[in-house]
Symmetry: C2
Subunit: 358 residues, 2 copies
C-alpha cells in the first residue's frame, strides 16, 4: 500500500492506494471515526462494491443511498434528495458521508457533506481511474447548473481518500480512457519525464495492466497533492490543474453532459490548449504533435464536431476561471511547462476553436 | 463610528457601526472590492433602503434580487433562484454579494455566496437589531430544512459587516424586541454587568433610544467577535452562543416558522434554559426570576402554549447540537456564567418542558 499525504494544516489527510483496500476493515476503522455513516454510490457501482464496503464499515449504523449514474444527474435537486435522507435518518454533525464511485458521486457526496449541518466528515472511496487520479483528491465538491459546469459547490476536504486499485478491473474501457486524459494532464502541467513514460507505456495502460495503473495513480496523486497543498482554494498555482478544462467544460455544457464523458471532453480540451499555445507561438509544432498523438492513442477525441465556436466561447465566459470579464487559460510553453494567463490574442483563440471544432 | 474586528487570520474582517453608514460611498468603496455586485434584500427592506445602497455602490454593475420576507422562505428552493440570477448575469468568481436586511436575508445571501463558484465575497449590511447584534457576525450561513432549522448551510465569513444604526428607526417594535432576546443572551453567557445594565435601561431600549441601542450593538458584537475568534467552527466555546437556541429552534420548527419570530422563540428558549438550570439545581431561584422578568419586560414570550413536550423533544434531537445521540444544552450557573453540557437529567428536561409549554 502507498500512503501519500495532502498537507493542509488541520485539514491534512492521507491518500491510501493499494489492492483490496475496500475489504480492509482496519483501514475503515482507522479513517472513518463516525458511528453513523451515509454511503453515497450509484446504480452502476453499488451492485459491484456496496456490500463489501458495508461489511468493512461494520458495526456502524449504515445507510446507503444510490444516485442515478452520470453527469446529467449532478444537480442541486439530487443533492436535496441526499439531504432529505440525512435528515430523515436524524444523522447528526458527528456522522460521516462516504462516497463510493467515480467523480460525479464524489463531487456530490462531498458537496452534501459540505452543506449538511454546515459541514460533516466525508471519505472518498473512488472506483474510477478519473476519480482515483484526480477528482477524489483536493476537496473540490459541487454540482452543475444549467448555465455551466460545477458552478455551485464548496471546498470541503475529505478526511481520507481510500483507493482500491482492484476496482479498476470492472471499469469499462471507455471510462478507463477518460481517466487517462487527466493523467496526461499531469505530465503536461509539470512533469515531462512522466509524459514520456506515458508515451512508452500507453499500451500497458490501455490494457489495464495493474502495475502501470498503480504507477500513474501514485504519480498523479503526488502532483495533485503538492499543488493543492500550496494553494487549496485556487488563488494561484492550483489553476494549472484546469489545463484543458475550460475548453472541456464548455464542450460538456454545450452537449448537455450526455455526448462526452468528462475525461473525453478534457482530452479534446488538452489538444485545444496545446493548439492555442501553438497558435500563440509558445509551443513547438513537434510538441503539439506529441500531445495530439498521445491523446488520440489513448482513445480520446482530439477534436469535436457539431458545436459552433460561438457556443464554446459563450460557455467559456461563464466558467469559474473568468476574472474581470476575461477568460483565464492554462497554456503550454512545452511538455511539462504550463502557466495561467489572461493575456492572449482573441484571434488565436478563435482560430483554435475553428480548427478543433470541425 | 465604532470599528470592531473579528480576528480569523486571513479571514479577519471589520464590523463598522455608526449612524448613516448606508449612504457613505467611501465605506463601500473600501470594503466592496468587486465591480459586479448582487444585492440581496427582501420586499420589506428594499423600498426603504435599496436605492440608498445602490447609490453608495456606484459606479459598479449592480443587480438586485428581492426575496419574500420571513423565515418560512429561508429554503434551498429560494437559494436556487438566487443562484439562477448570478448565472443569468454571468457573474464571475470576482463578484460580491451584499446582504441588505435582517437575519433571514443575511443567512441566505451568505449561503448563496458560499456555494456560488465554490465561494465569492460577501458583505453584510444588517438592518434589524437581531442581525446587527448577532446573525450578521460570525459567518454562519444557511437555510432551513422541513426537518429542522438551519440544517443546511456553510461557514462563510463576510468581508465586512456595515451596520447603519439609523435603519433601526424604521424597525417594527416587534422586530426590535426580537433582537433584544439575543442581546439578553450575551449578558447571560458571560457578562453579568451588561445584563444589569439591560435591566436598568430596558425602557430606553424599548423606546428605541439611539445611544442605548448603539451601546448594546457594540457590546454584543464585542462578545460575539471574541467568541468567534476563538472558535470559528463551533468545536468548543462557540456553542455558548446557542444559549436558548436549541429550545428556540425546536419551538420555531414545531410552529412552522410562522407563529414566532426567531428572536421571540429565543426569548422563550432563554427562560427554558434558565428553568432547566434551576431544575438541575445549578441556578438560584432569584436568578431564574431575574431572567424571566427581563425577558418578559422586553415584550418577549416567557412560555409558549399549544406545543406538546414530545414535539419539542423530537425537534431538539435533530438539532445540530446533538452529539453521539445526546442533545447538548447550554445551561447557567448564574447570570453571566454559562456552560455546554450533555450531562443532565432527562427528568429535569421533561419537567422544564412541561412547565414552560403550557
Amino acid at each position: 500500500m502507498d500512503i501519500l499525504r495532502v498537507d493542509l494544516g488541520s485539514r491534512s489527510y492521507p491518500i491510501l492506494i493499494g489492492q483490496g483496500l475496500l475489504s480492509d476493515q482496519e483501514i475503515f476503522r482507522r479513517h472513518v471515526g463516525a458511528s453513523d455513516v451515509l454511503i453515497i454510490s450509484n446504480t452502476t457501482v453499488a451492485p459491484l462494491y456496496l456490500r463489501t464496503l458495508e461489511e468493512s464499515l461494520q458495526p456502524r449504523r449504515i445507510v446507503a443511498t444510490l444516485l442515478p449514474d452520470g453527469e446529467p444527474h449532478k444537480t442541486l435537486d439530487v443533492i436535496q434528495r441526499v439531504l432529505d435522507v440525512l435528515v430523515a435518518n436524524r444523522f447528526g454533525r458527528d456522522c460521516a458521508v462516504v462516497a463510493l464511485g467515480g467523480g460525479v458521486v464524489g463531487d456530490m457526496a462531498g458537496f452534501a457533506a459540505a452543506i449538511y449541518q454546515r459541514g460533516v466528515a466525508f471519505v472518498q472511496v473512488p472506483t474510477t481511474l478519473l476519480a482515483q487520479v484526480d477528482s477524489a483528491v483536493g476537496g473540490k465538491t459541487g454540482v452543475n447548473h444549467p448555465g455551466g459546469k460545477n458552478l455551485i459547490g464548496a471546498f470541503h476536504q475529505p478526511a481520507a481518500v481510500i483507493t482500491d486499485t482492484r476496482t479498476l478491473a470492472t471499469l469499462p474501457p471507455r471510462e478507463l480512457r477518460a481517466g487517462l486524459a487527466e493523467v496526461i494532464k499531469y505530465g503536461l502541467i509539470c512533469d515531462s519525464a512522466f509524459f514520456a513514460w506515458l508515451e512508452a507505456h500507453a499500451d500497458d495502460l490501455l490494457a489495464g495492466e495493474p502495475s502501470a495503473l498503480a504507477r500513474v495513480i501514485r504519480r498523479s496523486c503526488e502532483i495533485k497533492a503538492a499543488i493543492v497543498g500550496r494553494d487549496e482554494q485556487e488563488h494561484g498555482d492550483r489553476a494549472l490543474l484546469n489545463l484543458g478544462h475550460t475548453f472541456g467544460h464548455a464542450i460538456e455544457s454545450a452537449t448537455g453532459y450526455t455526448r462526452w464523458l468528462h475525461g473525453e471532453a478534457v482530452g479534446a480540451g488538452l489538444v485545444m490548449a496545446a493548439r492555442m499555445s501553438r497558435e500563440s507561438g509558445l509551443l513547438s509544432a513537434q510538441d503539439l504533435a506529441r500531445i495530439t498523438t498521445l491523446v488520440g492513442r489513448m482513445g480520446l477525441p482530439v477534436r469535436v464536431s457539431g458545436i459552433a465556436p460561438e457556443t464554446i466561447l459563450a460557455n467559456m465566459r461563464i466558467d469559474k476561471k473568468v476574472q474581470g470579464g476575461r477568460i483565464r487559460l492554462v497554456l503550454l510553453r512545452g511538455v511539462g511547462a504550463s502557466f495561467v494567463t489572461a493575456d492572449y490574442d482573441e484571434d488565436c483563440l478563435r482560430r483554435t476553436l475553428e480548427s478543433q471544432l470541425q
